[in-house]
Amino acid sequence: MYKVLLFDGGVYRVNELYELVEDVGGFIIQKTQTHVQILVTLAIPEEERDVIERKSQELGAKLTEIPLGGTEIAVVAPTLGRHHMPHPVCDIAEHLRRYGAITVVMGLARGKGRKSAQISAEEKALINEYDAAVFVLGNFEDCIKTEKVRLFEDIRVPVVVVCGPAIDGLPNCKAVVSGVCRRVERMRRAEDIAKLEEIAEKVSKVIEERRRIIDEDPLFVHPAEVRQRIEDLPAVQKSLRPAPIVLHLDGLRVKIPYHEWKDQLASIDVYGRKLKEIAELSDSRLDGSTLIRIYSASKVESMNQLESKKLLCDQASAHAKE
C-alpha cells in the first residue's frame, strides 16, 4: 500500500530524492517551491518508508506523514446559513486540509428542518464523486437518529458524522464524532482543537480502510502516474482554477470540460495503452470537470482477455468465410 508523505526541505540535492522515489516505485504528487525551500508530496510503497526517511535526514529535511494526501473530501452541512454550522464546517474542512486532503464544503439545498430536511439525488451523486463525506449535524440525538440518518442513506463513499450528542454508531456511517454543536464562533480553544484532531483521525482511519480495500485489487496505475501525463495538456496548464488536477483514491478529477477534452484525454498514452482502455472517463457533476476512474489491474486483464478472444473469433469466422 502506498503512504503519502510530505518532504519539507531545501532544493539542494533534491533530485536525489526524486530519483530514489522513482527507484522504490513511488511517485511525486506535488512540488511547491519558494526560493530555496521546497515542499514535496510523495507517495511511496509502505515498506520503503525507511529508505526515504534516511534520505530526508541526509538532506536535512523534515518528513511527515499526511494520511489524507491524494484525497478529495466533501464536508456537508444541512445548509450553509448561519443557523446551521458554518463555523465548525469551515474549521473541519480547514483542519482536514492540514492532513493533506483537498476539501470541499457543501450545503444542501433543502437540508433545513427536522422532517423536511432533504437531500436530492443530484447532491448524492455529487457526494459520491469524492473519496469520503463528513456530515456535520446538530444538537439533538432524537433528530439525528430518526430523521437525519436519511441524508446519507444511499451514499456509496464512506461517511463520517460529526454531531453534538454522544452517539455510538449510526446506520450507513463509518464513524461518529460527538461534541461539536451549533456555535457562533470559530473552534479555537484547546478542547476544540482536540476535537478537530479527533475528526481528522477518524477520517484518516476511514480513508486508510478504503485504501486497503483498493489495494486488495490494485489499480492498473497509480493516479499520480496519470497525473504526470495529463499535466502537460495545454488546457490544464491554462486552467486558472485552484488545483486543476485533484487526486482521488481511485482516480482523479481534471478541471477541464469533459465534452471539449474527452478525446484528447482518452487518447493519452499510459504504458502503451490509451487512457480510455484503463480508465472510465465521465463528465463530473462539478461544472466543467472531467472525472477519471482508473480500472483495477484485474479488470484491465480480463478486458484484454475478452478482446483477444473476440479477435480470435473474428479471425476464425473470416477463415470460415474464405
Binding site: G113, C143, G164, R183, V184
Partner: protein, 192 residues
C-alpha cells in the same frame, strides 16, 4: 440571568443555553436580559423561548451620540457612538426619506436641506433599541427549519414558539402560560 430549560436531552438543552449566551455576548446585551426560559421538544417538534429584559432607561438624545453641524447643503451628523449608527440612520430615513439622507462615510451623514434645529430634536428610544436586539438574538437562535411561529410580546418580555408544520392550539396556550409566568416572575426570588 436566570435560565431554565425543559427538554428531554441534556446535551441539546445545555448547548442551546451556551449558544444563546454566545449570541447575547455577540450582540452586547447580556446584562440587559434578566431571565430566559426554553422548552425544547425535538420529537414534536417544538421550540419555545421566552425572554425577560430589564426596563430600558428612556430616550437618548442625538447630541449624546453624535456631533451636529450646519452646512450649506444641510446638516452634517458625525456619529461618535457607533452602537447607535444603524438605528439613527434608519430613523433618519423614516423621518426624511432616503433621497434626503446621504451617508458620506461610515459615520458621517448629510441631511440635505434639513435645518440643524430639526435634527437636534431627534431622540432614540432605548427600549425599542433593546427590543430589536433581543429579536435579532432570537432569530439567530431559533432552529432554521422551524418557520411556523407564534409570538407574544409585552413591555419587556418576548415569547416565541416555533415548529415545522402545524402550530397546535395547545402550544399557543403553553406559550401564553409561559409568557404570563414571566410577567409575574420576581427575579430576586428566582423561581421560574
Amino acid at each position: 440571568m436566570i435560565v431554565k430549560v425543559e427538554g428531554p436531552e441534556k446535551f441539546g438543552n445545555e448547548s442551546y443555553v451556551e449558544l444563546f449566551n454566545s449570541i447575547l455576548l455577540d450582540i452586547g446585551i447580556t446584562r440587559h436580559v434578566e431571565a430566559v426560559k426554553f422548552i425544547i421538544r425535538p420529537s414534536d417538534p417544538l421550540f419555545l423561548i421566552s425572554v425577560k429584559t430589564r426596563k430600558a432607561a428612556g430616550k437618548i438624545r442625538i447630541t449624546e451620540i453624535a456631533e451636529i453641524s450646519q452646512g450649506k447643503e444641510g446638516t452634517y451628523i458625525n456619529i461618535t457612538d457607533e452602537n447607535y449608527a444603524p438605528s439613527l440612520i434608519s430613523l433618519l430615513w423614516q423621518l426624511y426619506g432616503r433621497e434626503r439622507i446621504e451617508q458620506l462615510s461610515r459615520l458621517e451623514i448629510l441631511c440635505k436641506g434639513i435645518d440643524e434645529k430639526e435634527i437636534l430634536e431627534i431622540a432614540i428610544d432605548r427600549g425599542e433599541e433593546l427590543r430589536k436586539k433581543v429579536l435579532d438574538a432570537l432569530w439567530r437562535l431559533l432552529p432554521e427549519g422551524f418557520k411556523i411561529r407564534y409570538d407574544l410580546s409585552s413591555e419587556n418580555i418576548i415569547t416565541i414558539v416555533a415548529t415545522e408544520y402545524e402550530m397546535k392550539e395547545e402550544w399557543k396556550r403553553l406559550a401564553e402560560k409561559v409568557h404570563a409566568d414571566m410577567e409575574v416572575l420576581d427575579v430576586q426570588s428566582a423561581a421560574l
